[in-house]
């Protein structure tokens, strides 16, 4: 027996067989909902960059994968007077290339550029990112800062879940059985605003976040601050927002904000960083993101999407 056929015999490794499941390609939302009701343990397959890796390593199991890439309705980015709607099949690369995003929500583009590498971004969807809900996900701080809403379809119709109620813990979300995420909605800001997304990794290029952070600067000196990767779920820093409201960014104000970070986030030590390092860097990043966001609001900050941490 040659070496190769030996490996092919055990577990089908040679020809790339992983744990067993069936596969259906769906072409409408109704079809997905129907299939989900029939099977006990179905998983939705969009980009698959998380799902296939988890299936390979047996972190999740599935009886059947329902491929939704054929559903045209889930693909677009739409902007109306009231809101921005991002379909659940919109990939990070779509976000980077979209004119609508670049002109109206550039901080989403700035975030998308930090996600993994091109070949992953070509396939990975933002909806998939929040469905996986791993604590180091990059999209969550931005979505939380914008008070996004997750649109979900089930047998009885559609329901909306505010992003603040979406994350239930590491890798846990508010999605119930037999529900499909169809879109993410963000209220269209009528007022002028600017933002900044920062991600700390061990190096530039493909890495998961040690800390990530989104700051939005709205008119009338109002701010939104959300930390990611430093707790089980993204953390909206409401107390810091309160302190900042109505004030100019002076050094003493920023120092008080940085002190409050101690009580706001709950970083842990893991393979990527220690909790002390994360806590310290979260403060540094908050300071820089605040300045960048305010400068951008005034029209002279760093260019969106260029690395500036």
């Amino acid at each position: 027996m040659s070496n190769r056929s030996f490996w092919s015999t055990i577990k089908g490794i040679g020809i790339g067989m992983i744990q067993e499941f069936d596969y259906f390609k769906c072409f409408s939302i109704d079809e997905v909902i129907e299939h989900m009701a029939v099977f006990n343990n179905s998983k939705i397959l969009a980009g698959g960059t998380d799902l296939v890796a988890s299936l390979k390593e047996n972190h999740v199991s599935a009886e059947v994968l329902l491929d939704i890439k054929g559903i045209k309705k889930l693909k677009g980015i739409k902007l109306t007077k009231k809101m921005l709607e991002i379909g659940s099949l919109v990939t990070f690369n779509d976000l980077i290339e979209s004119k609508i995003i670049k002109e109206n929500f550039p901080v989403l583009m700035e975030m998308a550029k930090t996600v993994a590498s091109k070949a992953i971004r070509n396939r990975a969807t933002m909806a998939g990112n929040i469905c996986s809900a791993v604590p180091c996900m990059d999209s969550a701080p931005v979505l939380a800062a914008y008070d996004a809403v997750v649109v979900v379809t089930n047998l009885t119709g559609e329901r909306e879940i505010p992003i603040a109620k979406w994350f239930k813990g590491p890798k846990k979300n508010a999605l119930l059985k037999n529900e499909l995420v169809t879109a993410i909605r963000i209220n269209n800001f009528k007022q002028n605003h600017a933002g900044c997304f920062l991600k700390l990794g061990r190096y530039q290029g493909e890495d998961l976040a040690q800390v990530n952070l989104c700051v939005l600067a709205l008119s009338q000196k109002e701010f939104r601050v959300v930390f990611g990767s430093v707790g089980p779920v993204p953390i909206r820093a409401k107390e810091i927002e309160k302190l900042l409201k109505g004030n100019d960014l002076r050094i003493d104000l920023i120092d008080s904000c940085c002190l409050m970070v101690n009580e706001t986030i709950f970083p842990i030590t893991d393979i990527r960083a220690t909790k002390e390092y994360r806590l310290h860097m979260a403060k540094v990043m908050l300071k820089r993101a605040l300045y960048a966001a305010v400068n951008r609001l005034e029209g002279h900050g760093p260019v969106y999407g260029e690395y500036h941490l």
Binding site: S8, G14, I15, G16, M17, I18, Q19, E20, F21, D22, Y23, K25, L45, G48, T49, V52, A53, L55, K56, E57, L65, D67, K69, N93, A116, S117, K118, A119, I120, N122, R123, Q204, G205, E206
Partner: protein
């Protein structure tokens, strides 16, 4: 049960029967016999398995073979024209851009995608484009040189 798929591989129409739980990378290597995409980390980090699906780079270790039904797949073999190396491949040779060669097919696929999008990429663009491809031999500089070399030339005049 096996699923029947039809797809375009390097410009050639093909049909095959694949298991739902079969990975594209292994399907290409073991069943079709195209060995240029390499099996490295098997989890989307190293980029040695990069191929193009509908002209977009993807990591074939994270794609199921059934997913390429009705899609077009290109490996580095498909970048060659009539058995001749592409300008990009030649530039990699000229600049000594690989030693062991394990990362080369993925590197070339990623940089091909970049050059299709931007004819004159900056060094930062190049670093960004190949940030998902690991190379343990060269220290990346000869690879960046090879791509830079080509971006300065008018590629169409050579083809």
């Amino acid at each position: 049960m096996k699923k029947k798929i039809s797809f375009i591989l390097n410009g050639e129409k093909r049909e095959a029967n694949v298991w739902p739980n079969q990975i594209l990378l292994n399907f290409l290597r073991e069943e079709i016999g195209i060995k240029s995409p390499k099996s490295g980390c098997e989890r989307g980090d190293c980029g040695s398995c990069t191929v193009l699906i509908n002209n977009q780079s993807v990591k074939s270790c994270l794609v199921l073979a059934v997913e390429i039904d009705e899609q077009s797949v290109t490996t580095i073999e498909g970048l060659m024209k009539e058995g001749e190396l592409s300008q990009l491949q030649k530039s990699f040779l000229k600049n000594n851009s690989f030693q062991c060669g394990f990362c080369a097919p993925g590197m070339i696929i990623s940089s091909h995608e970049l050059l299709e999008e931007k004819t004159n990429p900056t060094t930062n663009d190049i670093k960004e484009a190949i940030s998902g491809n690991l190379c343990r031999c060269t220290g990346y500089l000869p690879i960046i040189d090879a791509i830079k070399d080509l971006s300065l030339e008018d590629r169409t005049s050579h083809e």
